[in-house]
């Protein structure tokens, strides 16, 4: 199988590589680029541990070929901190509200929640639960993840005191 050339922007860095056409984006990110934040949990697009942002959409990177990401702008959890290196409101929310335990789903959860808040800056609890329904967590029972997203929404909307 001949390789194909791909070029994409990952967390603000332009990367170029030659890959087999069958290589999945999650493997490309993890094994070619060493970006190991996104995880593999199921290979059937159910768990969402591999969720990354691709051109303004949440995608499960186990279900996208690296070649399909040609020209794309990709953000992973590694690119989620604020420009000055401090934690983003979502990252802070997950920590403050105990929205993670083993941490395996967390990179995907944060990426999905990030997109959710981009599209709905003030989601209700039901909207958060529905918005995260493509991402599975085995540890938390989601209750504190919902709180973490609310924390971030409040902080991003300037209701910092309400969050604290």
């Amino acid at each position: 199988m001949s390789n194909v050339a791909v070029k994409m922007t990952v967390n603000g860095q332009v990367v170029e590589a030659a890959v087999e056409p069958r290589v999945l984006l999650i493997h490309f990110l993890r094994e070619n680029l060493g970006i190991t934040g996104p995880h593999i949990g199921c290979e059937t697009s159910h768990c969402g541990a591999c969720t990354v942002e691709l051109d303004g959409k949440s995608v499960k990177s186990c279900t996208v070929f690296a070649a399909q990401a040609e020209g794309a702008n990709i953000t992973t959890v590694e690119g989620m901190a604020n420009a000055d290196g401090t934690l983003s409101a979502l990252q802070e929310g997950f920590m403050q509200e105990h929205g993670l335990q083993c941490g395996y789903c967390t990179p995907g959860m944060i990426m999905r929640a990030h997109r959710l808040l981009q599209e709905n800056s003030n989601p209700s609890e039901d909207e958060i639960r529905m918005g995260l329904s493509g991402n599975l967590c085995r540890c938390t029972g989601y209750q504190n993840i919902v709180k973490a997203v609310r924390y971030a929404a409040d902080k991003m909307n300037g209701r910092q005191e309400a969050a604290e």
């Binding site: 997950f94 920590m95 639960r129 209750q143």
Partner: protein
Amino acid sequence: MSDAMEMTLEQREATLGGIGCARRRKEDVRFIQGKGNYVDDVMLSGQVFGDFVRSPHAHARIKAIDTEKAKAVPGVLAVLTADDLKPLNLHWMPTLAGDSQAVLADEKVHFQNQEVAFVIGEDRYAVSDGIQAVEVDYEDLPALVDPKQALADGAPILREDVAAKDNVGQGPRKHPNHIFTWDVGDKGETDQAFSGAAVTVKEEIFYHRVHPCPLEPCGCVASMDKIKGELTLYGTFQAPHVIRTVVSLISGLPEHKIRVIAPDIGGGFGNKVGAYPGYVCSVVASIVLGRPVKWVESRIDNLSTTSFARDYHMTGELAADKDGRITGLRVNVLADHGAFNSHAQPTKWPAGFFNIVTGSYDIPAAYVSVDGVYTNKAPGGVAYRCSFRVTEASYLIERMIDVLAQKIDLDKAEIRLRNFVKPEQFPYTSSLGWDYDSGDYHTALNKVLKAVDYKALLLEQAEKRKRGELMGIGFATFTEIVGAGPSRNCDILGIGMFDSCEIRVHPTGSAIARLGTKSQGQGHETTYAQIIATELGLPSDDITIEEGDTDTAPYGLGTYGSRSTPVAGAAAAQAARKIRAKAQKIAAHMLEVAEGDLEWEIDRFKVKGLPEKMATMKQIAFAAYQSVPEGLEPGLEAVNYYDPPNFTYPFGAYLCVVDVDRLTGEVKVRRFYALDDCGTRINPMIIEGQVHGGLTEAFAIAMGQELIFDENGNIQGASLMDYFLPTAVETPIWETDHTVTPSPHHPIGAKGVGESPNVGGVSAFTNAVVDAFAHLGVTHMPMPHTPWRVWKQCEALGIGE
């Protein structure tokens, strides 16, 4: 120092971030930034990949394996079969239960997806191509999937390798497919209780086959340094030290030449206790190739091959007087252990601690008998977020007490209050031999009844029943047995189930502690530091916790069965106390007083009656490296190996309210109120998180999870397409509460909590679902309570349309 002196006692205590505070988790900082280090993130120079050719048949003879084409696939480096492992005597491996398990199928396969050959290649895609190219010639054999049929006369013999043996490690056998019989209790006394009883009830209760399914599957990276003769094995190990010993015993490599590292683990729930063929094959492949070999299972591999949980066919019987006071309990179990007896229980306990089955109730006579059998299913039988077989036991008694309540028309809360072990009976010895350390069951249940306004719920239910609507109220008032365990009761491969902690205090007053356990999400880096902070008077933020590297951590038996806090947490407290005792000698020297003139206060020793004369632990730490009294070694460190005097017995009272749609069979969990008593609470935030997670797993088990096999042994739905993991949408809202009844024998009174919600949760859901139908004469409904099954119940009752 002047700052510290100005602080109030409360401020000084708060500064420590010790026991009882909702400290934010130290491990989160890396996880929220994508900087965790899970086993699949380990990428060593020259690393290659390995994966299995798996059997499509549940039971078949292997006539031939042709690996030539596979070896010719570009990128494939080697293919291993049982014949390649035979000269090393590694084609079979011993199990923790005294049986042996095929590493690669040797002449026969015994379950679908069993490991048949191991293909190693430069990358995972080449390996995948290689797997496709391996040709295996099978002769299909009839499969056994029903454990009752397995014991029938003339049933196909599954394990030809042990067919002639009268013992496969756990006592006499009575059939070639039989593994063991284990019984406990006084049979005669129990029979007598039944023969004279005013009321008896009997119910067949099946606890179906499920899987812990942590989000991260199992895996390892084996790296053999052939020059030094040293093996480094990274892996998803809940018990890294045990794995080191097992690898040494199996491979013949000396134990000091093996370094096992469990990096961050993405959830375990029992799935990552065992030793699997993937580990052995990776080690062998690394020895053969001289390169690091990574094996990570897929989700389908995980659900269909590495340890399942439960599969207990139970028959429960209760005898009682006319007022519902239980006089006898009899339980018979047929335990389906699959193809190899590789369940993970303490060695002497073939059915784990199933004899905790008397639960929270004072039952004078009880008898339990368990038979284990082989079937053509994946091997295992782990504790899925519960102590050993405790959730099965708790399910049995919590179901049976409801069956009895319905039989005599007694309220389901009242029957529990009548039968609870009373507070003044503790320490309490059960009729099946356990010594319950402490408990106050009445207070716990009464608190829940009040919090939910139980009387109002009963009135509402009565109203709804009049209207033909289905509403159920389910209780679980469970007792756990955790903290395995005292070495007189518990060992794994002969090694006592102690645990350990080693603490080093540095000159500037910060510290590192290493423990023999391994967190998989429980937050040990946070909570152990809190214990040590309170004991030592040093801030938890200044204490690093390290686990999982057998070269640095003291030997311990690992994290499962809620044993970390009861055992290693106790070791942490005891090691800290050793340090404090030495610190007192140094402080006395510093302050030029006798040791006995000093008293401890939060973070310092003070001279009695002269409070301004004091030395903080931070000051003492420096002195320990500078000027110790004559005859005392410099330095400030200690290690403790803690062999617990007893188990701990956490308990709880749960109440679940469901509404059932009789036309669709859908069960809506309207309310779930969980009161847990885990003794002293180290970090309430983490406890609450553990309870949420455990209840969600219990919800999944009761309402949807099931590993199903067809009559040919084909596993049905071993991927997340079918296997139910609840999302945020289905998961109910959890309400939590607590009482605190410390353990009298644990250094800080803590009991452990991670698994209680699973033990109590599953029964509470089923009890609520059955209660919705109780007025229609239904006494039991088998799990999982999917809409289809519940609707079938409605249909059978003529209310389905």
